[in-house]
Symmetry: C2
Subunit: 613 residues, 2 copies
């Protein structure tokens, strides 16, 4: 070892959204990490800008969602315009751009640089993670028998100096988030596979001066002069994506003249006027739908984001899927590094995310075809102005594609939904869920939000907010109607079992500062809250600390805020008055659903993946 060698748990290559999300997990869980990036600083303008509801939920789970949400511009309307025979363009459909109720957030736009800044601010508030700009990797070697098997040589350009500084990072794991031209991927001998479509687009951000009336709505415009997508942004910015003829694209590749793009937009929007004021970013690109079929090697090096999937920016998914990749990976890495989980759980990263990436590419293909395909003339009455296919595709954008309803299949981290699903799985016969106990909750899907009230003071509470991203698992006990004494007895018995000597839950420490791999229990009941006495509830739901008193923030009443009747959470999840238990992973995905008596199944499931219990 020389002076120039640094040992860390994780080295992350690339400080874009995927790399910073990985770094955020490491910071939050106290894992040491270094993020390197060849750029001198974060993204300054342009690039990605769409933020899906699921991404907001993820940001919120680290406490960095507020600021992003406050500055972002929600896109609520989607306006479709078509050419008309008589010339010019005409508004066809005006659709909702989101499905209310699927999330407490909705799709919004904010420049990638600002998202990155939020991650950087978060990371900066912890000591375990640092970012090294102006730095690129030069050599990667894996020594499996070492404590730090990953050896990455790096080169840092010093600002103002011509020479480079070479040094070495030794790490337990490497995460390659270095984009479509990933050095890490290439070095592993992997590559992106797939098609480059013959589609060329230009994009620019500006403050538009226009009398086009829908300029603050998301628009898809299909004019004879070409296709245009309008994405209203934060402040007064608007992004225009405009389709280019191959020869125009070729010329712009030689010399990017934003005015050419502005002129095409003006032509498409005609007879409406259009000028671009404060033009702050412009670029051109060709649509390539490509996938790297392997996301990891040696169970030591993992790829994420554009390094494993590239596609068009049509649906604003890029930044989201990339963030969601490392959101899936980060807690698993932390759990293994902290000795809380077996390394085999890392294999679920590819199992879970490859399917998502494949679906994304198929979805993107339909999206590109829907937007670029010719539609019927909107001036012809009796015909819808967009195809059913595009309409369905747009609908999908707001559900599975955005991550809201994305389902991770059965694995060591997600129980099968029923006995027959379990039989189809290879490996040891682990427990299956009793999915029917929460009929509207899907195993493997992220836990949807419902509003409940804190039992202690009736404060409204988003249940998703107890699922903060700390590396902890949560056992959500839906107690049902505990004003019924038989039901209350079941909850009491469950409470006793949880604190029994030798119980897996008992081995966790509610007051430990290191939360990775711990299990927190919460109770949500649907009895009228005035009929429930806090002090008569099982102690596991109200742990006592000698200096901090009781923990009053683990019991919730599923009641109306100002009434006394039942609230909506049990109904939303399809849970009856007999209740159920739901085990939620550290990334908010549902791992198991069972009856109040099914604790042993949960133990079996957790013992299979956890170490040190």
């Amino acid at each position: 070892m020389t002076r120039d060698t640094l040992n860390v748990d994780v080295v992350i290559v690339g400080a874009g959204p995927a790399g910073l999300m990985a770094g955020t997990w490491m910071a939050q869980t106290g894992v040491t990490a270094i993020i390197i990036d060849q750029k001198p600083h974060r993204t300054q303008s342009g690039h990605a800008d769409g933020i899906e509801s699921r991404t907001f939920e993820i940001l919120d789970s680290f406490g960095v969602g507020d600021n992003v949400w406050k500055n972002a511009n929600p896109t609520i309307d989607l306006s479709i315009w078509n050419h008309q025979k008589s010339g010019g363009i005409k508004r066809g459909d005006l659709l909702n751009n989101c499905n209310p109720g699927l999330s407490r957030f909705q799709e919004a736009t904010l420049g990638q640089g600002q998202i990155e800044q939020n991650f950087l601010d978060f990371i900066d508030s912890f000591e375990s993670v640092s970012v090294k700009w102006n730095t690129c990797p030069t050599n990667l070697t894996i020594f499996e028998s070492s404590e730090y098997p990953v050896q990455l040589m790096i080169q840092t350009r010093n600002s103002g100096m011509k020479e480079h500084i070479n040094s070495t990072i030794r790490a337990k794991y490497l995460v390659g988030c270095d984009g479509a031209h990933s050095w890490v991927r290439d070095t592993l001998g992997l590559s992106l596979e797939g098609d480059r479509m013959n589609e060329h687009w230009g994009v620019f951000d500006s403050i538009p001066l226009t009398d086009f009336p829908d300029i603050r709505k998301r628009c898809i415009i299909k004019a004879n002069a070409g296709h245009l997508m309008i994405i209203p942004r934060e402040k007064r910015l608007v992004r225009c994506y405009v389709q280019l003829l191959p020869e125009v694209a070729a010329a712009l590749k030689v010399k990017l003249d934003p005015e050419t793009l502005v002129n095409i937009v003006r032509e498409i929007l005609s007879p409406f006027s259009f000028e671009a004021s404060s033009l702050e970013w412009a670029s051109i690109y060709s649509v390539a739908q490509k996938l790297c079929p392997r996301f990891s090697k040696y169970n030591r090096v993992f790829l994420a984001g554009d390094a494993i999937h590239t596609h068009s920016p049509k649906a604003g998914q890029g930044m989201n899927v990339s963030i969601q990749d490392t959101y899936n990976l980060g807690w698993k890495l932390a759990s293994v590094i902290k000795g809380k989980a077996r390394p085999m759980i890392l294999r679920t990263y590819q199992e879970e995310r490859l399917l998502i990436a494949m679906r994304l590419l198929a979805f993107d293909k339909r999206m590109v075809e829907g937007i670029c395909g010719k539609e019927s003339d909107s001036s012809m009455k009796g015909l819808t102005s967009i195809s059913d296919s595009l309409r369905n595709t747009l609908q999908e954008e707001n559900t599975s594609s955005s991550g809201l309803t994305a389902r991770y299949g059965p694995s060591c981290l997600v129980t099968p939904a029923c006995e027959s699903e379990r039989r189809r799985l290879a490996g040891p016969l682990l427990p299956h869920s009793r999915a029917e106990l929460a009929g509207n909750m899907a195993i493997g899907v992220r836990f949807n939000n419902a509003q409940v009230l804190l039992q202690c003071d009736s404060k409204p509470y988003n249940l998703q907010q107890v699922l903060r991203s700390t590396g902890e698992w949560r056992l959500l006990v839906f107690g049902g109607d505990i004003s019924n004494s038989a039901q209350m007895k079941r909850v009491q018995q469950l409470g006793l079992k949880l604190v029994e000597e030798g119980s897996i839950f008992c081995k966790t420490d509610p007051n430990s500062a290191d939360r990775v791999g711990e299990i927190e229990a919460f109770l949500i009941h649907c009895a009228p809250r005035k009929d429930v006495e806090f002090m008569k509830l099982p102690e596991v739901f109200r742990p006592f600390d000698e200096t901090m008193g009781y923990d009053y923030w683990r019991v919730f009443a599923d009641n109306d805020p100002y009434g006394e009747g039942r609230g909506n959470a049990h109904r939303l999840y399809g849970i009856g008055t007999e209740g159920c238990v739901v085990l939620v992973r550290p990334d908010q995905h549902v791992a198991f659903i069972g009856a109040l008596e099914d604790l042993s199944a949960i133990e079996l499931f957790l013992l299979n993946i956890m170490t040190g219990l």
Copy 2:
């Protein structure tokens, strides 16, 4: 003039909530001000902690509400406990502590020091206002003929040094927010008048270790051993107010022993256990309900907060009424200093706030009597556990007392509600409102919030959020159903009148950085938003700027977010499909309600108070 003389527009004595609110207005409007305080720094612990909904609205109007709201603890339940004949205490009523719908915020608690810090952070982000700690006033002289008539001698203690530094501040106005023992008030020869009740209380903040089940609810407990009020706070803190016997109070005045207070609380809560962990503040006080009948002198020096009214902390109103005092005064001072309004408007400060202070004292008296008076034994069936009088008082706490429904009477800043009310007023015959056009809106009361949608992109918007505290007046044009062509014509004509040469609205500059005294116009219509074309609306509601494009943020559709029908704003305000215009003061209070054709009445009203138009 010596080197030690500083000229500012406003000198503020006292950096508590009232003084900092005044300083916040000055910072926001670009008026130069200095705030002096004899303390070495802001409040560190204890003191006031109740924040009413109206105060949140005010903080939010400066953009500092989010942070306070996020950290505060909403008090939703109010639990009443009484002694029972068989010994111990028993829960009587469990009431709602707020009226949902009256505000988008609700009552919450947060330590005074944190509120002050939010104000200080805001002020710190501007250059025109500074805070000078360790500084007290020593002499006050008024020279009416000078440009800076107020001469205040001050003395600053340098930290670490024994000697004092004397200097002089010359200002146009002085605001005395220096508390119950106000030096400014005494120097003006004014005094607090009223009674000291024979009520003595102790108060402390701690993390309670207790099995008392309602510890996280606001409680009023009437035990044989004494009376106790419990106020749950941010984090795990809880405040206890406990009634003291005169002899106990006298002893504690000599030497404040918090353990004595804790013991009394333990006795009152018996048979429940009680220990105070992390006791962070304790104090004792006697209830004194006093009022200074004059709030200003020479129309140059103004008093606010505890300097003019003291009362019990029972209803958590102190900090709120103090903040609301200077919220009322600040924009008036800024308007006069900037030459936008005649100095006579300053006289409305006392007219408007004296009545509020008198009501507060009467309310506080009922509150103290209700809480300290004996109630019937709650174990006797058929009797309510609290008196109707206390119940009514608690109800009032959430409406007029909190500022939500406080009404400022007719004056040069509030039009009379009808012709007969106008006749009763002295002075020139200025216009009166047509209150019936907005049947549920009260003239002189703060403009209540309703949610509408931005016309341009359907984004949900709290109408109150357009009423930011910038010193601007707002003309809210409720256009009614403009899908009706006759109604649209009325709105068009109003739009033309607003931009007519010589119109009072035309004399204001939408792009001027200095917003004090400007008038902003907004349109809220209740036609289905898809039937309304933005570009066909009057230009005054969509001003165009050559580099920033159209202003899309002045037109709102009163629609359901995901439907197309009418929303709730027109209904909430009692406005029909024929619409009306509402003129709102810079402090969000309604000044005038009229028909779409009543512009000349508004002009007459404004010309009477404004200068330079």
